[in-house]
Assembly symmetry: C2
Homo-oligomer: 216 residues x 2
Amino acid sequence: MERYDMHTRRIPEATIRRLPAYLRALTLLDEERITSEALGQASGYTSEQVRKDLAYFGAFGTRGVGYEASVLAQEIRRILQLDHGVRAVVVGAGRLGTALVRHTDESSRDVVIEAVVDINPAVIGQQVDHLTVEPLERLETLILERDIGMGIIAVPPSGAQAVCDRLIGAGIRAILNFAPKALVVDAPNIFIQHIDLTLEMQALAYFVGSAAHSKP
Amino acid sequence: MERYDMHTRRIPEATIRRLPAYLRALTLLDEERITSEALGQASGYTSEQVRKDLAYFGAFGTRGVGYEASVLAQEIRRILQLDHGVRAVVVGAGRLGTALVRHTDESSRDVVIEAVVDINPAVIGQQVDHLTVEPLERLETLILERDIGMGIIAVPPSGAQAVCDRLIGAGIRAILNFAPKALVVDAPNIFIQHIDLTLEMQALAYFVGSAAHSKP
DNA sequence: CTATGTGAAGGTGTTCACAGCA
DNA sequence: TGCTGTGAACACCTTCACATAG
């Protein structure tokens, strides 16, 4: 018999995906206290969603008042594991890979890119921001040595599956894939997020003609 | 009284978002005929999803056989409006904006970037691939003259809302937003897709600890 | 009297299971 | 017989409505 109570239940993925938006809104607003209404407004969701999402993790708010921003932010960081430094490796130091390294250096210090690797001898040894491009062979070693938990795939589609397999083999369980390729994974408990610009734009094309509303 | 029949109903957004993946798989596989099973495999979805998605638009398949690839691909192009050229404008010619122009030039000729604009006089007039960066003031003119239906926002968060408002004012109904900012839209029938790297990575951090499966 | 926390209701999307047709 | 097309069942998510606590 399963429990379906609010607090013992597995957290919905949709909730997890909204938490970072709440965290950013809290930081930008920089208020001491905030209501679910204001937080929703700032992050692009409804007040009910905000309250329900937060309630999965306990009762952080004060009825009639709202939430204490600093407490809430720290709570969200804890839930997302951002409080104990998540380290990532970027595979592929092409245009996209280098752009990612530079991007994450200037925003979000919560997920830190610890290494960049590439298969091309011409780019190995080159400097990308504060990092030196290392050879692909060293992937597993780097993951082990630097306790890396997240892999970011920024290689051409032909190489993506092999990289994915090696990341999983090395113990990585969270992958962000920018290669325009559907990755096959048979291991359990691996979470892959795909970001595919071409697919996004083609889907958007549909709405150029017949459009509907959307949330962030 | 509303109709809930398969074929008169509004197409689910989830379906629309999978169609581009099917289209790519069809192109890559380059077979004459294909089953829902094979198509699902190649695009990362189940055969039932493939069949149900396609069935919204009619019965393209042959029972006991499968689908004719070329017919199916053309059907999907038509549904997504990719058959009559969707044109887009990129706002912001920074690192991300220029990367987008270059990216879409080399893949996907289905959505064509027709113009790049920026507010910074230092970059106006510069060449990005085959395009010349034009001044932001010309945004509305360009959209009108070149019949542009899609806007891509690649400006810093502080300027994103203003750009969004102008795009909508100029008649754009489909927007791809790369600015790390929740955009507020009150006009109806506007579709906005957000791509926010920082939020994606922070959400992924959650799964570094407790992971679950995912689909492309 | 305000804003949270949460059951209940309503929607949307996915999976199952099989009827129906080549 | 094999694979499509599709109701029905199920799971997930969002919205509503309100009891509840400060």
